[in-house]
Amino acid sequence: MSKHLLILGGGTAGTMMANHLRRRLPTSDWQMTVVDRSEKHLYQPGFLFLPFGLYEESDIIRQTRDFIPRGVEFIQEEVEQITPESHAVTLRGGRELRYDILIVATGCRTAPEETEGMLGPKWRVNVHDFYTLDGARALREKLSNFSGGRVVIHINEMPIKCPVAPLEFTFLADTFFREQGIRDKVTLTYVTPLSGAFTKPKASKKLGHLLSDKGIELVTDFVAERVDQDHNKLVCFDGREVPYDLLVTTPTNMGSEAVRRSGLGDDLDFIPTHKSTLQSLKYSDVFVIGDATNVPASKAGSVAHFESETLADNVICFIEGQPLKEEFDGHSNCFIESGHGKALLIDFNYEFEPHEGNFPFAFGPMKLLEESRLNHLGKLAFRHVYWNVLLRAWPLPGISRQKKKPVEV
């Protein structure tokens, strides 16, 4: 009888794992299944561009099924309960799936209900988010009618998915309001629980000027106790207040509710995972990838991509009874929009902070930690790479899963 590899989540990480492993596991021995609640696959980096009218929804929505390879069953249903002790997963409708190997790729979600007052009557009236399709859509509508006022971009708490996105949003908003001819009627304020917009020394030194250059006010070490929707202000635990006319918040990010129901997560429903092998710390036949883990890497698609290469090898090692590769190094790589048609490129891992230097793309080296038009074009081109290369789990030419050690410049 054949064995069963079950993947929970058909987003970026789950889809990549299905593609990697269907190529490597013989169909005669291994049955494979992907479960996801949604039939739609969303290109989440596009949520950043949608509110400014730079992308249309048709650019960022595809059918989940179209990226699940032949020979893998796709079940569109909510996961109700994961029971690792009995190697089983129960779906919302009551169906039980048994597995020999489980890969949890259930991602993370925004949890605005975690902050007092955030989900009040003005949610999506003048309190917005852009980390969901609905949120990005509503914010686009809001921005199209916005004539001026105090715009506050806020991070509620770390960790968040795509940690630089709120800053990118701030830079793009600066450009957007300039193009609308109303920048002088808008104040932009960036509110963070961290000690700065940039917290790592090299990036801070190199990029710290970007905010003041663009006239963006910075409020740091701010942990919101509540959103006071009656008076349109954010209130910090230490009593500080930040008034807004338009709040663009990044709510607390948490893991999947199925993880919580199953009691498998930490305080934020992220699953304790070995940071180099991606095996569950508790169950040897359970692996975790992407935003669902608690590993101290960024929650980002590039991280899921690098993880997927190591995890595919490790699933094979596990099946063959070989030791797992302690290989994943926290490698992350992303384009950061800095406004005015420019972007930065950063590359880092657990050990090395983002640094300057060259990045070896197949078509020629790109500069790291430096604004350029080419990087912006790279970010736009990346959408096609995502649909056609990344999700299909084809290697990105010239880009290794482990970060190359920075060369001192």
Partner: protein, 103 residues
Amino acid sequence: MKKNIAGTEVDVNEEGYLTDMSQWNENIATAIAAEEGVGPLNEGHQKVIQYLRAQQAKGAALTIRSMGKSGVVTTKELYDLFPGGPLKKSSKIAGIPKPVGCI
């Protein structure tokens, strides 16, 4: 880089955070606290410091939420104990790395 804090030579980064938490002792905590305008360190500070060091030793993520939930202190008390920057100051005094974003 090396720095002499309270008579002990320790390894610190550019911002004065200890890079090896095992080099920490209570005199170092007192000295860093004074530099940061925190203190004198009382029982409340000590509870937070011990909690942070225990979490860090376990490799667990340090968030204000987890501290609040752990029952050590409420977030409000944390701001009272470490005014101006509860996480960055308490981490520095506890001899563990500063909470950071990715850049």
